[in-house]
């Protein structure tokens, strides 16, 4: 883009900048409000509803939510599911993506089609539930991982990425007596680190945010991940109907406590986000849909 120095061009740029700044504000303000609210006292919250920067700093809300085991347990479940799930998903996804990226694999087109088709049509909630049930996965942590182990979309992105690696490299490694696994782990994966990092983080965020699988497959509230607990705590006190209660005997939590739980459930995402975004800013994510 060449600078446009005319009056009209400058006015245009100024208006555009102002609007975008507003949009950025709308994006962050709700979150700032919640973070600020979680670090202040209930009294301060009641007196001054428009908290954006706490006048009175306090950790009361956090002390309260960590006073029972409930949150720790849910965090533990979420961290475990995220760690194990991400490693497992990446393992099977990259193996499949590499196999399908090789043009000399017979049946490649058919397998590709079968994968893409699942993006357009699926059995739906109930039949999937019945399959999970038949496999005996109900009420197991595996039910939060296995049914969504591979995202067709992520697999296709990775496959396209692998396909863009010059074939000559693989050829010469093969001539040197490298096995297919050797090629994958010694050549292809090291060359694909940005894509691997990005897809891993996609999986991690998805696992961390697991909610639907948990309400479908887990009957036992002791196994709840953080997202399900978050909803219980927030909904419990907002006059909505809820079906089960927390095991901590609590009065309806006030605003500051709800905000603290929201912050706790969001922190891990905010921690990985900076590492994530430098990759997709480069467009690493844009494998085309045409597998």
């Amino acid at each position: 883009m060449v600078e446009d120095k005319s009056i009209g061009g400058r006015v245009f740029a100024a208006i555009n900048f102002t609007l975008l700044a507003l949009i950025a504000l709308i994006t962050v303000l709700p979150f700032m409000h919640v973070v600020a609210g979680s670090f202040t006292t209930s009294a301060e919250m009641a007196a001054n509803k428009f908290v954006l920067i706490p006048k009175v700093w306090s950790l009361d809300a956090y002390k309260f939510i960590f006073s029972t085991n409930t949150i720790f347990k849910a965090m533990g479940v979420s961290i475990g599911v995220t760690a194990i799930g991400t490693v497992f998903s990446m393992f099977v996804t990259s193996l499949m993506a590499y196999g399908l990226s090789r043009r000399d694999l017979d049946g490649r087109t058919l397998i590709n089609f079968l994968v893409v088709f699942t993006m357009l049509f699926h059995g739906g909630m109930i039949p999937t539930f019945l399959v999970v049930k038949e496999l005996g996965l109900i009420d197991s942590y595996a039910s939060l991982i296995l049914p969504s182990a591979i995202s067709a979309f992520n697999m296709i992105i990775l496959k396209n990425f692998f396909q863009n690696i010059p074939e000559g490299l693989e050829e010469s490694a093969k001539i040197d007596g490298c096995t297919d696994f050797g090629i994958l782990f010694r050549i292809v994966l090291p060359l694909s680190l940005p894509a691997i990092a990005t897809i891993s983080l996609f999986y991690a965020v998805t696992y961390w945010n697991t909610y639907m699988s948990a309400i479908l497959y887990l009957d036992d509230s002791a196994k709840w991940p953080i997202q399900v607990l978050l909803r219980q705590i927030v909904v419990l006190a907002s006059g909505m109907d809820y079906s089960s209660t927390l095991d901590a005997a609590v009065p309806p939590p006030d605003q500051t406590i709800k905000m603290a739980v929201i912050v706790v459930a969001t922190i891990p995402i905010l921690l990985v986000y900076p590492f994530l975004q430098k990759h997709f800013a480069k467009g690493a994510m844009l494998g085309s849909m045409k597998g």
Partner: protein, 322 residues
């Protein structure tokens, strides 16, 4: 860190010599045995968790009893589908689903395009980066977090929105329970969470436009807006159409989570959509066959929509999705 460029999928390379006889094929299969080992876990996953449930759709033609299984349950033909179309409830739910879909198409869909154009007009890489980083962020929050943030903001007892209303002399509004506020809340949350992330693909395709085109337009005296209208938009038309087709395909797939989180006993008449109804009827009331029939109906409609919009766009000389 190597630069990752957006590359169109590579042109099909000349196939290696394909053996014509079976011994050649056998040799090739044997040579690639490890590749087959690699794709096996993935294929198993798709068979078990994607294709078995598709097979499971046949219970919508049965009176499925969990302890009798698919083989032991009685066939009832189209009974559940007939019930579907005669149930007054269902029409209401279908309408709710279609209305939310309409909001998605009419209100949400253009927003990432406009936002991408605005971001693209920014001078200076720093600000561009900065704004992009900010607006992508909400996409990584789960629906639970997004809905929870809304809850604490709009609740009657001390939510910031209601306090603002009071501050400016209005009455408090019960956003959460009032049915007429459900749809606005739904679409505002969709926009807040997804609009920024939705710009990624558009920005990438704008970045790929030949700068010479803009040069030429400037020579001809086109201002910023004219350049956007005559060069940028036509250049990304293909991407817009592709994403539009995919959006249409998700016609009835609005995402169970988001709506389920907003659903309560007071707003059920407007907030119950096909997905939430399937959950309630199927898993809460044990009507497995009936709810599967509903889900089946939904998936079929979605598939038909994708195929027809795809055909239509090809007829109009655009590329399709497949």
């Amino acid at each position: 860190m190597q630069e990752v460029a957006v590359q169109p999928s590579a042109a099909p390379q000349p196939q290696r010599k394909r053996g014509k006889n079976s011994s050649e094929l056998k040799k090739r299969l044997w040579r690639n045995k490890w590749l087959y080992v690699m794709v096996t876990p993935g294929i198993l996953y798709f068979i078990i968790f994607k294709y078995l449930p598709m097979y499971g759709l046949i219970i919508s033609f049965q009176d499925y009893k969990p302890y009798q299984g698919i083989s032991g349950s009685d066939w009832v033909g189209m009974e559940h589908f007939n019930r579907l179309f005669t149930e007054p409830d269902f029409l209401n739910i279908l309408m709710n689903t279609l209305i939310l879909f309409g909001l998605n198409i009419v209100i949400y869909f253009p927003i990432p395009i406009i936002l991408a154009l605005m971001l693209n007009e920014l001078r200076g890489t720093f600000f561009k980066r900065f704004f992009q980083t900010l607006v992508y962020l909400p996409h990584f929050m789960s629906w639970v977090i997004v809905v929870s943030i809304s809850f604490v903001m709009v609740t009657m007892d001390g939510g910031i929105i209601n306090e603002l209303l009071v501050f400016f002399g209005f009455e408090k509004v019960n956003f959460l329970l009032n049915p007429s506020w459900f749809r606005p809340m739904y679409i505002i949350q969709v926009i807040w969470r997804e609009a920024g992330w939705g710009t990624i693909i558009y920005l990438a395709s704008i970045a790929a436009i030949d700068p010479g085109l803009y040069e030429a337009a400037r020579m001809d005296g086109a201002g910023r807006l004219k350049q956007i209208w005559h060069i940028t938009l036509p250049s990304i038309r293909g991407v817009i159409i592709t994403l539009f087709i995919l959006k249409i395909g998700s016609v009835l797939d609005l995402g169970f989570e988001h709506v389920y989180l907003l659903l309560n006993s007071m707003n059920r008449e407007v907030a119950e959509i096909i997905d939430t109804y399937v959950y309630t009827a199927g898993l809460r009331q044990g009507q497995f066959s009936y709810s599967t029939a509903i889900g089946f109906f939904k998936s079929i409609i979605g598939l038909i929509m994708v195929m027809s919009v795809n055909k239509l766009s090809k007829k109009m000389g655009e590329e399709g999705v497949y």
